[in-house]
């Protein structure tokens, strides 16, 4: 899922600026699961903003609503319908949701309340870790299912580097060396030959370096 965290309140207040009637728009998918922008977080932020502005005698109106997903048209329709009556939408979705709404609302500002952070997994309640970079060319079958692009601090394809120390990465003793993990995993899988093979320089144009990506499935189109 996409993992995000809420911006500090001061930054959100600065982003809201002079807009008076603002819809705080939640998303019930990834950001609900990582407790950043689901229905509950929307109500918490709305309550904080009402109190903050109320305390300072600034009159603003905050509406709140959460849809299942902000990245699909049929779900965002309630927001589009309300748009005329608003000064801005403060989206608590990931960046995808903010973009998706902005693309469809000509004259209404769509503001981000979250910092979208990474593609990750829930390790345990309240702990999320980054697992994938969406680089567009997966090599996980060669690396025992552990992504060196994402989990190696240098994203090197032929590791480990000289900084690997006792299973930890040189950037921090709290960070596992991805290539150490790959080595251990390949050993357990009896596939150590994979680590000796040289991974060639990769074509990064399959990732963001190739410009914004688009996928079309003609068989699915209506």
């Amino acid at each position: 899922m996409i993992v995000a965290s809420r911006k500090p309140l001061d930054e959100i207040i600065e982003i809201i600026g002079d807009y008076e009637k603002v819809l705080i728009a939640g998303c019930g998918t990834c950001v609900e699961v990582c407790h950043a922008g689901g229905e509950k977080e929307v109500e918490i932020l709305a309550s904080q903003l009402r109190m903050k502005f109320g305390k300072e005698g600034i009159n603003k109106e905050f509406l709140s609503d959460t849809v299942e997903r902000q990245c699909e048209l049929e779900f965002i329709e309630p927001f589009l319908e309300k748009a005329e009556d608003l000064d801005a939408i403060l989206s608590m979705a990931c960046g995808v949701g903010v973009n998706f709404l902005a693309d469809r609302l000509d004259s209404l500002p769509v503001l981000p309340a979250l910092d979208t952070t990474f593609y990750g997994a829930t390790e345990e309640q309240g702990v999320w870790t980054e697992k994938c970079s969406g680089c567009g060319k997966c090599i996980l079958h060669l690396t025992g299912g552990i992504c060196p692009i994402t989990r190696c601090s240098k994203s090197i394809l032929n590791g480990p580097c000289g900084g690997s120390d006792g299973g930890k990465c040189e950037i921090s003793a709290d960070v596992d060396c991805a290539w150490h993990l790959i080595y251990e995993r390949l050993k357990a899988l009896n596939q150590l030959e994979n680590i000796q093979a040289i991974n060639p320089i990769r074509d990064w144009s399959t990732g963001l370096d190739g410009g914004p990506r688009k996928m079309v499935r003609e068989d699915l189109r209506l």
Binding site: A46, S47, Q48, K55
Partner: protein
């Protein structure tokens, strides 16, 4: 609890105590049977476990004008539901940060632990909190008219 409770004359704080049914609520009962006097400023809301308390319950209490809020839970290690009180403790700590963010003193929110046998402690905590909040003064939000307020019921307790 609303703007109709303005402070005329001396400030009488309004304090909400979220009390666990198995400890603090029973302790309040015991204080009552033992005729121990405690501050009448404290209004009790009974919860089946302190772990039921939600960030939104706390925020909405302040938004509605409560001057102070506290969660009274079982002694650590003594929760009827194993660790509801430890979860409540973390939520109170987080809610304190949220209050600081909006510029409301986080001391207006506290967490206390007691057993059902501690009627005296219940009274002491109620008095202590009342005294502290009296010193802090009224919650500025009780004078705010949320005229344009539009609050949908959130996912409390999930």
């Amino acid at each position: 609890m609303s703007s109709n409770v303005q402070n005329k004359g001396a400030f009488e704080p309004q304090i909400i105590a979220f009390c666990c049914h198995y400890c603090a609520y029973a302790a309040a009962d015991l204080a009552g049977s033992a005729r121990i006097q405690y501050s009448p400023n404290v209004k009790i809301i009974r919860l089946p476990c302190s772990g039921k308390v939600d960030i939104l319950h706390i925020l909405h209490a302040f938004e509605a004008g409560a001057d102070g809020v506290y969660v009274a839970a079982c002694l650590e290690g003594g929760c009827h539901f194993m660790e509801g009180n430890l979860r409540a403790k973390k939520r109170v700590a987080y809610a304190k940060q949220l209050l600081e963010e909006i510029g409301l003193e986080s001391e207006r929110l506290e967490m206390y632990n007691m057993s059902s046998a501690m009627g005296g402690e219940f009274a002491k905590v109620a008095d202590e909190m009342t005294e502290k909040i009296s010193k802090l003064g009224p919650n500025p939000l009780k004078f705010v008219k949320f005229a344009k307020q539009s609050r949908k019921s959130g996912k409390e307790g999930s």
